[in-house]
Assembly symmetry: C2
Homo-oligomer: 146 residues x 2
Amino acid sequence: MSDTFFVQQLRQHGYKITPQRRAIIEALAEAPLAPKASEIWEKIRQKYPDISPDTVYRNLTLLVDLGMVQQIYLRSKETSRFEVNIPHHHHLVCLKCGCYYCLEGCLVNEQDLEAAKQRGFTVIGHALELYGYCLSCQEVREEGLR
Amino acid sequence: MSDTFFVQQLRQHGYKITPQRRAIIEALAEAPLAPKASEIWEKIRQKYPDISPDTVYRNLTLLVDLGMVQQIYLRSKETSRFEVNIPHHHHLVCLKCGCYYCLEGCLVNEQDLEAAKQRGFTVIGHALELYGYCLSCQEVREEGLR
DNA sequence: ATCCTAAATAAGTTTATTCTTATTTAGATT
DNA sequence: AATCTAAATAAGAATAAACTTATTTAGGAT
């Protein structure tokens, strides 16, 4: 989870190590909790005022595809969040307020993934989010959904 | 899965039945495969030229939140697709070309969902997508990811 | 049949994200 | 150290999706 590890991983996969990539990795490592792409962008801009948002999005997606970062899809209200991916786990997402909780472990068993691989599909990763309503949004929901 | 069923469900939850909602439900029922929001919008515009895209998005989200429609997150490249939700299942999504395959059954067991409910969280549904590379994108991937 | 009110919509604005293209650069090769 | 080339970037345009607000309307009450 250190910067060095991320950089090593990128090198091993043949990607170039740019100042922008170092900055993104550094920002992710320093981030207290799963930040939004825009938060990472803002943080990096303090040091590198000219970095483009596209570069941030592109590299976050790359890190996700390489399995080093986990993307949490918060379904509307809020934008995605990015989490350093150790250990792999899933999330409970509130449809009303956009808050989320981490669940322990993985709810998908490897056996099921095999079925996918048999179709010639190379599975890189998976995303599972449970959607619903958090405790403090329950009442609101009862009004909203009658 | 008939229009009537969807309308009944909306009524039971206290939602009003508007011409726009009927049109969206009709369009979903007639769609040959999981359409994109924009495709549904275009189809409805043939009959109702003044319907706004916001109305389509809003109601698709509503149907998803009520568990009547399943949203497939295709991760970049392509936008989400919406599927009439019978039976519940998951998807294999190609990160390169955006194509997807349906998997049989649900890979998440109810027992695991209970853990979430114990936190006072009301689980409405869940979304699981397996991400990777389809057969015809494998070579491209080997170039791309070295 | 008319009225009432909260819900739903249209229109326009705003934001998040991706795409396109010209330029720059990391890292390999010489 | 200089050169080369594919990869990465910045900038700006394009798109998808959501928000804001004024107006309309579905469905219940009168």
